[in-house]
């Protein structure tokens, strides 16, 4: 039984780690701006495309990786300044529509540049190699992802809890106006939040595309949505919540894909039910249940409405 289930859990943990890195971007931005940054998934995809083009133009890989991360963070910064900052005092719906507009723009730009064809992601040595763990063969990156995720999250939590900028972030997310009155430069704090969020999305893109190797303009949409669901699931605004949520969603989704065979082997069903069809839908069903039962997610704080 264990041999049947373990590979799914392994895939789930790997996917979960990638979702977690994307989800942190969502949760931090939401925590401060109360904005669903719909373009976040597309920034993740753009990071992949930058890598493809940079490697193709002959830049050595060891230089590509840091460059991609810096450029991605820069894109996050620019998007915030161009598309969200002018709308800071506008209704929330306007900012959200602007986010959808940015997402649309990024996708179309990439469609134009690539001609709508799948781009092959460069092979990064070592993490692309195969390895065997508890009888299941997989890429090294599958094992590296969750470890790297945890390390980055611990570092981030330290940053938020023990540095001056972290304190400013917490203050801004608690009360926008008061923190402004206290002399915090809100725009800087928000920019730094975006830079951190997109930087992590850049890391996620390297891990994700090393695993799945092709990038196309729509590559970011689904992972982005799922990462957002993970953030909501864990309680939006909470970083550990987003990480836990991401792992749960990653594992659940992969188990659904294998549910037919698992149930069959357990003797519950006599034949395939086609349940794998619901691997994406399940994520959203989970979201709706969570929102209906506990609207603030697993680790979310209770928010009272300001009138």
């Amino acid at each position: 039984m264990w041999n049947t289930v373990f590979p799914y859990i392994l895939s789930g943990i790997s996917v979960g780690g990638q979702y977690a890195l994307i989800a942190i971007g969502y949760t931090m931005v939401y925590g401060i701006l109360r904005l669903i940054n719909f373009a976040h998934g597309d920034v993740f995809m753009v990071a992949g495309i930058i890598m493809v083009y940079m490697a193709a133009s002959g830049v050595p890989l060891w230089l590509c990786i840091p460059l991609v991360l810096v450029l991605t963070a820069l894109i996050g910064f620019v998007i915030e300044r161009v598309a969200y900052k002018p709308l800071r005092n506008a209704p929330r719906m306007s900012a959200m529509i602007s986010a959808i507009g940015v997402s649309y723009t990024l996708q179309n730009l990439v469609l134009y540049i690539t001609g709508g064809l799948n781009q092959l992601y460069p092979t990064i040595p070592w993490i692309s190699d195969s390895m065997t763990i508890f009888g299941a063969t997989t890429k090294v990156v599958t094992v590296v992802t969750p470890i790297l995720t945890i390390v980055l999250v611990v570092a981030l939590v330290q940053l938020i809890n023990h540095t001056k900028i972290g304190m400013a972030m917490r203050a801004v997310s608690r009360d926008f106006e008061t923190s402004q009155l206290m002399g915090i430069k809100i725009n800087n704090v928000i920019s730094i939040t975006f830079v951190i969020g997109t930087f992590l999305a850049g890391v996620a893109s390297i891990l994700y595309f090393t695993n799945y190797t092709t990038v196309i303009q729509t590559s970011g949409a689904m992972p982005g949505l799922k990462a957002f669901v993970a953030a909501v699931f864990g309680g939006i605004g909470s970083i550990p919540g987003a990480v836990v949520g991401a792992f749960i969603i990653g594992i659940a989704e992969n188990i659904i894909k294998g549910l037919d065979i698992i149930l069959f082997k357990l003797g519950v069903t006599s034949g395939p039910m086609g349940l794998a069809t619901f691997s994406d839908a399940f994520t959203f069903a989970l979201l709706i249940v969570i929102l209906a039962v506990k609207p603030t997610g697993l680790f979310g704080e209770k928010i009272t409405d300001k009138v």
């Binding site: 590979p7 799948n118 190797t213």
Partner: protein
């Protein structure tokens, strides 16, 4: 202001439809983007090469320039009607395409209502031509290809359990799997069918499923984009089963993905490089001269069967135009059923549903050392 702009745009479209003299237009209804973009581009290459080779045609005593008019259906059934309309609007005499059965079916009615004949190049689903008088096709169909694959899996590969994986909502994948499953079951094998949602990039769990079901063969007649990912993930998971695919997998991009791995991949297709050396040499020379064509072919000069099919489709269209003696779509449609043409891919002649009478498929295998295709056998169904 914007309204004025919109009206001007609409006017320009209408005006651009005004036909030019002495030119016959052939519509190219192919995906140049999306999941099937790579395949569509290779199919177009065949037509472009043919067009370069024979840029004029004599119709009713007058020499016409042949102009290819392109419409990108984006591998998307919702975009197909608009793409088809733009070809109709451009005033084409006959349409070639598409790569992918779903988009062909989705665009079919637009051509039907406009009375324009279409020559399907590699759309193998029977629903494309069924019940239509305007849709023809020069390739074999899935009810032929499915049993060939089933026989090959059961008899040659010795598989008793086959895991069939297709994309949800893709008519080609689902259709070919159905036509594979029935004869395979009849032979005594056990097929297992599963589908993945559009946009999936993580196939590891599906590969695990195949292993857990104890499948000896993974049958995945999917788009090139998915096929390369399945191959690479199968390679890193070190799977013990053979991969089997239909005509869509016959692309140098797919063969290249197996390079340096231990993945065994076999496909059925229309043509194998080397069957017509003259054509091969000419086509390769053209590819190597034209850098854009080479890029569209996936960066090397290995010939894909779909390019040959595109080439033959172009000449079939020319034959029809010549026989019709007119550029009117209705005349071309009336003569198409009787058109006979001996192409690079073989003899082309249509039956009463408009399908080419084809009785053989080429089976080939990916060479994991060179990343090229190797001829295995020609399978014929009596």
């Amino acid at each position: 202001m914007k309204k004025v702009l919109a009206i001007v745009l609409a006017m320009m479209l209408v005006l651009s439809a005004a036909a030019m003299a002495e030119t016959v237009k052939i519509g190219v209804f192919e995906p140049a983007s999306g999941d099937n973009g790579a395949g569509g581009k290779q199919e177009i290459l065949g037509m472009q090469y043919a067009n370069k080779e024979t840029p004029t045609v004599e119709i009713g005593g007058t020499t016409y320039d042949v102009e290819l008019v392109y419409a990108d259906n984006g591998s998307d059934t919702t975009k197909a009607p608009s793409a088809a309309s733009s070809l109709v609007d451009a005033g084409v005499s006959v349409v070639l395409g598409s790569y992918g059965s779903g988009v062909s079916i989705a665009g079919s009615d637009i051509f039907k209502n406009a009375g324009i004949p279409v020559i399907g190049v590699t759309c193998t689903n029977p629903q494309v031509t069924e019940g239509n008088t305007h849709y023809f096709r020069i390739c074999f169909t899935d009810p032929f290809q499915g049993p060939v694959l089933a026989n090959y899996a059961y008899n040659t590969l010795g598989a008793t359990t086959v895991y069939c994986l297709g994309e949800l909502g893709n008519d080609y994948d689902q259709g070919l799997i159905k036509y594979f499953v029935d004869p395979f079951t009849a032979l005594g094998g056990t097929p297992i069918q599963e589908s993945f949602p559009t946009g999936t990039s993580d196939f590891t769990s599906y590969l695990t499923n195949a292993a857990n079901y104890g499948a000896q063969v993974l049958f995945c007649p999917v788009s090139i984009a998915y096929a390369t990912q399945i191959i690479q993930q199968a390679a890193s998971q070190g799977v013990g089963f053979t991969l089997l695919g239909g005509d869509t997998l016959d692309s140098n991009v797919v063969a290249e993905a197996t390079k340096g791995t231990k993945v065994e991949l076999t496909v059925t297709t229309f043509y194998q490089e080397g069957a017509n050396p003259d054509f091969d040499a000419g086509f390769k020379a053209w590819l190597n001269e034209d850098s854009e064509a080479l890029t569209n072919n996936g960066g090397n000069d290995i010939i894909s069967a779909v390019s040959i099919m595109g080439y033959d489709a172009y000449y079939t269209a020319l034959e029809a135009l010549k026989a019709a003696g007119s550029t009117a779509p209705a005349d071309v449609m009336a003569t198409l059923p009787s058109v006979v043409y001996d192409g690079v891919s073989g003899h082309i002649e249509f039956n009463e549903t408009g399908d080419a009478k084809r009785d053989s498929a080429v089976v080939k295998k990916a060479n994991t050392e060179t990343g090229d295709w190797e001829f295995v056998t020609t399978q014929t169904v009596e």
